[in-house]
Amino acid sequence: MKLKGWKELTPGAVITEAGSALKFKTGSWRAFRPKWIPENCIQCMFCWIYCPDMAIKVKDGKRAEFDYDYCKGCGICALECPGKKGNKAIVMEEEGK
């Protein structure tokens, strides 16, 4: 994407376009990677609510895979995930391992 010059900017850095966070892929920030374990998932959707970005995808009303383009690896989903009978459905793994 060609970067804009200073004459082309909106005053005060105001964003006048809705949903522009789609263009900002924060996945490259990730040091830890959440891993989904479907057999422990109870479809409570806590991860979807708590995720600060849009990295939890939903398909046909069900929890689907992570969208790693937007997952910055904060670990909130893993912390909040109740899992099944004490077995977490999300675990964090170090990137590159």
């Binding site: 970067l3 804009k4 010059g5 200073w6 004459k7 900017l9 909106t10 005053p11 005060g12 850095a13 105001v14 964003i15 006048t16 809705a18 522009s20």
Partner: protein, 394 residues
């Protein structure tokens, strides 16, 4: 024109200007010597004389935050503060200017603590001079009233959209009764006109976000754009002044010059002390000494070129600062004046005096002392001290 002559304090005059403008929202927290402005204004709100939504908050940090929110939402917004209050607003000042929100704030100049002092001094305004706001400084209650009204037009100009601080001296002006002329309500209403919104948050048909994270790939472009907008301010200030003259008969420029055109020695001084200095300049003129004065009005952005042109022909100039700049060699106003004449080959000899800190009186004899020293420098070309404190006990 229908102007009414009244005897009021500076604070009363500013409060009345704000009543006449009738802003949509105000958020404020009391602080001496600015309290009186908002105290009067809140009574206008309570008595139904304005339609302003008045938000009483728990600190100046919150006051400026609420002003920012209300301004981004699309309202005409104003507030008032002084000294520590302005200091507490510090981080928000940059957010208001960086987000290009046309908030108008009356700043009643007061010294900064410690030691605690509530009196007139420019340390507060000088500390905030480079935060991206426009600053208009006022010599007396009339100028404070006139600047307040003009500030809305300048701030809200579509080429500008920047916050404006209007400054006047604490107590010396804010609490002294002077004769001033009020415009009638209708004239002020007409002059400021309907508020024009730009990207208001409350326009849900066109959703916008304020305050995004701007990383190194764009931050510098936004700062460069801010500098560009600042460069357009003087032109707008002059246009607004021209319109204001039509309704008031009072003339305003970027700065005021007093007997400066043919002067050989001159003073550069802000706000109320300029009045005292003008009297002394008249006495010196009567004695055959060609003395003059320059009083900045638009202090940020500083009109370097115009000020340089106005001063370059003098032989010796003293810049009087009512604020010190610890660790810098000279006071803040001196540094701006020095920059404005720096590139001329022939330029006046410049000296700096720090005066009037914490409300210490600036007396005619101080101006006399300085003008005598300047006359001597003009004659001999020799300077004893470049920076000195006046009116201080050894």
């Amino acid at each position: 024109m229908g102007q009414k002559i009244v005897a009021v304090t500076g604070n009363e005059a500013v409060a009345n200007a704000l009543r006449q403008v009738n802003p949509d929202v105000s958020a404020a927290y009391p602080i001496t010597p600015a309290t009186d402005i908002m105290q009067r204004f809140t009574s206008f709100v309570s008595n139904g004389l304005v339609k302003t939504e008045m938000i009483l908050v728990e600190s100046e940090h919150s006051a400026m935050s609420a002003c920012i929110g209300a301004s981004a939402a699309g309202g005409r917004v104003m507030t008032a503060t002084a000294s520590q209050g302005l200091a507490l607003m510090w981080e928000l000042l940059f957010i208001a200017s960086g987000s290009r929100l046309p908030i108008v704030m009356a700043l009643v100049n007061r010294a900064l603590s410690a030691p605690l002092n509530i009196h007139g001094d420019h340390s507060d305004g000088m500390g905030a001079r480079d935060c991206g706001w426009i600053q208009l400084w006022s010599e007396n209650a009339q100028e404070a009233y006139d600047n307040t009204i003009q500030a809305f037009r300048i701030a809200e100009h579509m080429d500008i959209r920047l916050p404006v601080m209007t400054c006047m001296d604490g107590f010396i002006i804010s609490h002294s009764i002077e004769r001033i002329e009020y415009l009638d309500d209708y004239a002020v209403k007409n002059f400021v006109g309907e508020y024009k919104q730009l990207n208001p948050l409350l326009d849900i048909e066109h959703p916008v976000s304020y305050g995004p994270l701007i990383l190194p790939d764009y931050y510098m472009e936004f700062r460069r754009a801010h500098a560009e907008v600042m460069s357009k301010v003087p032109g707008v200030v002059l246009d607004v002044a021209k319109d204001f003259e039509k309704i008031s008969g009072r003339k305003y420029g970027l700065f005021e010059t007093y007997r400066l055109d043919d002067a050989e020695v001159g003073l550069v001084i802000l706000n109320s002390a300029a009045g005292t200095s003008k009297d002394v300049i008249d006495e010196f003129r009567n004695r055959g000494i060609k003395a003059g004065l320059l009083k900045p009005r638009l202090y940020r952005p500083f009109p370097y070129e115009e000020v340089g042109e106005a001063l370059k022909h003098l032989k010796a100039v003293c810049v009087l600062d009512r604020a010190d700049a610890f660790g810098a060699s000279y006071g803040p106003l001196f540094m701006d004046i020095a920059s404005s004449i720096y590139h001329y080959k022939n330029k006046p000899i410049l000296i700096n005096k720090i005066y009037g800190l914490g409300g210490r009186d600036y007396l005619p004899e101080h101006a006399e002392l300085v003008l005598n020293e300047l006359a001597e420098i003009a004659k001999t070309g020799k300077v004893k001290t470049f920076k000195e404190y006046i009116g201080v006990r050894e």
